[in-house]
Symmetry: C2
Subunit: 427 residues, 2 copies
Amino acid sequence: MFGGDKKLGTESYKGVRDFYPEEQAVQNYIFSVWKKVVESWGYAEYDASILEPLELYKSKTNEEIVNEQLYSFKDKGDREVVLRPEMTPTVARMVAGKFNEIPMPARWYSIPNLFRYEKPQRGRLREHWQLNVDMFGSDSPYADAEVIMLANDIMKKFGAKLDDYEIRINSRALMDALYKKLEIPEEKSKIISRIIDKKDKISAETFKEVLEKEVGETAEKLIVILESKDGVFELMSDSIEAKYLADIISILEKHGIQNLKFTPTLTRGFDYYTGIVFELFGTNSENSRSIFGGGRYDNLINDLFGKNVSAVGFGWGDVTTRDFLKTHNLLPKLSPITQVWIVVPPETNMDEVYKIAAELREKEVKVGVDISGRKLGDQIISAEKRGIPHVLVVGTEELKSKKYKFKNLATREETSIGLNDVIKCVK
Amino acid sequence: MFGGDKKLGTESYKGVRDFYPEEQAVQNYIFSVWKKVVESWGYAEYDASILEPLELYKSKTNEEIVNEQLYSFKDKGDREVVLRPEMTPTVARMVAGKFNEIPMPARWYSIPNLFRYEKPQRGRLREHWQLNVDMFGSDSPYADAEVIMLANDIMKKFGAKLDDYEIRINSRALMDALYKKLEIPEEKSKIISRIIDKKDKISAETFKEVLEKEVGETAEKLIVILESKDGVFELMSDSIEAKYLADIISILEKHGIQNLKFTPTLTRGFDYYTGIVFELFGTNSENSRSIFGGGRYDNLINDLFGKNVSAVGFGWGDVTTRDFLKTHNLLPKLSPITQVWIVVPPETNMDEVYKIAAELREKEVKVGVDISGRKLGDQIISAEKRGIPHVLVVGTEELKSKKYKFKNLATREETSIGLNDVIKCVK
């Protein structure tokens, strides 16, 4: 009738995921930890459409994303639109849009899905969800420190120990001040920044070569500074940029974040960062990728929309989080939401069964009714397959006596009790 | 630096919405009511990507959607992809994909966002969210009745009264049997169905004319049947199709759903329905649109994917829900999530303030710290602007005495209490 004889495949589009209930339960677990912690820090949720005008990305993000990784197309009205690759331009647009109404500083979060056209691989898919946490309108080092403290609280809530991960931190402002001190021309700073970002991924020789091509003799000096533990801080000790970063690090250490590592080679991909940048890495060698990252971007909202609002925040992906939790064995066993499975002997009045279910629901018990008409034993097996913890038998006898056979499928315990006791047992 | 001199507009893409925190709170309220009720009925959440292969829609949905309303484009690998316009083909794909592993009957739900390219208007936007509830693998009338009972529970949870809405119900199978009895050729049934769907939107003359063009003299007979209250049931009383629908109606009435209206002109747009179809309409004349609708689609999964799974379910949009709740004054006043705003007198040790905040968070209090450095009075005004109900003053004095000024901003009550009492007051 519809498909004709040719049947379709059941695979999803490449690089995206189907979330069957078991997978969705993991997703819900991660989202609920995120939400719980960020809301306890006073952050309010916002959201927006995944579709954005192309011009929002043309003007800022680095070219790699716009040219190669962007999902863009023309709508039927010939508008160029994009499936957003990141949330920061969107939230910048929203903050600028109600600039005069939003009480500042503002604490906002969202868990958007994002698209990038890239080769699917471990930790990277074409679509992922990402917790975005941002503080707008504060220049205080406590704003920078707060988003990192909050992120660290999330790691704790996931059950991670301090030595399971390290937080690498740097400051774009400090690095720019360093380049200036080394008399590297300002127009070179962006390219230098990108080369330094690659330092640990290329050989020392190549690194030196590439750097020399840009800044000549200064390259050697720069390498010595980058490789000495406190080289940057020593050279720049008088600068306000070093002081600001030192303040943030000191606040974080006072709050028990000892796994902080000043990392002058950390720059992060986006051009819009202006102050601190940070990334969290797992320490397990099987999974040592970046789990999340962020930074301060004080000029973006002004550059794009002409509203002067400072900002600091991070993005934290679900795919890297899952990988981290699995590697460290931190994913809890998740039961289905349904608490009680009502099994129904043959010839029972089904309307009465539904009334019993309704009574339980009134008391916030989550109940499914077996309407298969199968044999009682098969109905119980069905509950077990679904992972539902309790079975309640509701037959003609039970409806008359108002005592119901109630079975805990884990302990195999079976009792005959009234509905109020069922409610108590479940809670 | 990025945008140059030309600044961008802050509007979202046409026909989609930005959810600022106050708007997101409404969205979260609607979603939480949906989730709470469907989970209490034993439904498990699933999800999928918004991107689907185009072929999934080419083969089934009615042509109007595929040709005019579909957001489709080619990805950089030349694959034709679509922003899903509805969830049913996706969930059909998923159920078919794990056909052998999913315990049947399966109760599933999701709250996806969906896209249609259409002229934005009241109750219709280019992107909306939709609760999708489906029962797979059951032919029992209790499956049909259950999804309607569940939907009715949601209306109750929203605070709607029975006379605020009516549920119109029909059966495609019954109508097809009627056409057969009237000797209308089978190949005409789909077009007749679409004409009947338009009955209340066109004049009686036009309706008759269009119908006559298709079925000649039978048109008059059909109109008499459609316009008599129980015409269809009387004529078809011996059919299994009438009996099945009567069973469902009887179950629903036994469960207190008195606002049910058998409506033979109700057909719904999708071609894939095979059994009952239903829609819920508000009775307020200001907002009498359909709020949700659904039906049984027993052949879809087989037609598309070659797996024989019956199904019944509905889709319930957020936009129509908002309109209904506003029209009936049912949207509750929603406070922000943050419960306590810590205001900080000048010269206070900020690290100690953050420790107090951490203690409160440990006890599940949601706390924001004012880091603005503004005057105390202005910090309190800021809390009021944000709608946060309580203010806690944490200054040098308070840190020493461990007694904190605590103010309820609604009642203006002010006390000086320890942290444990703060926790108690908030809960």
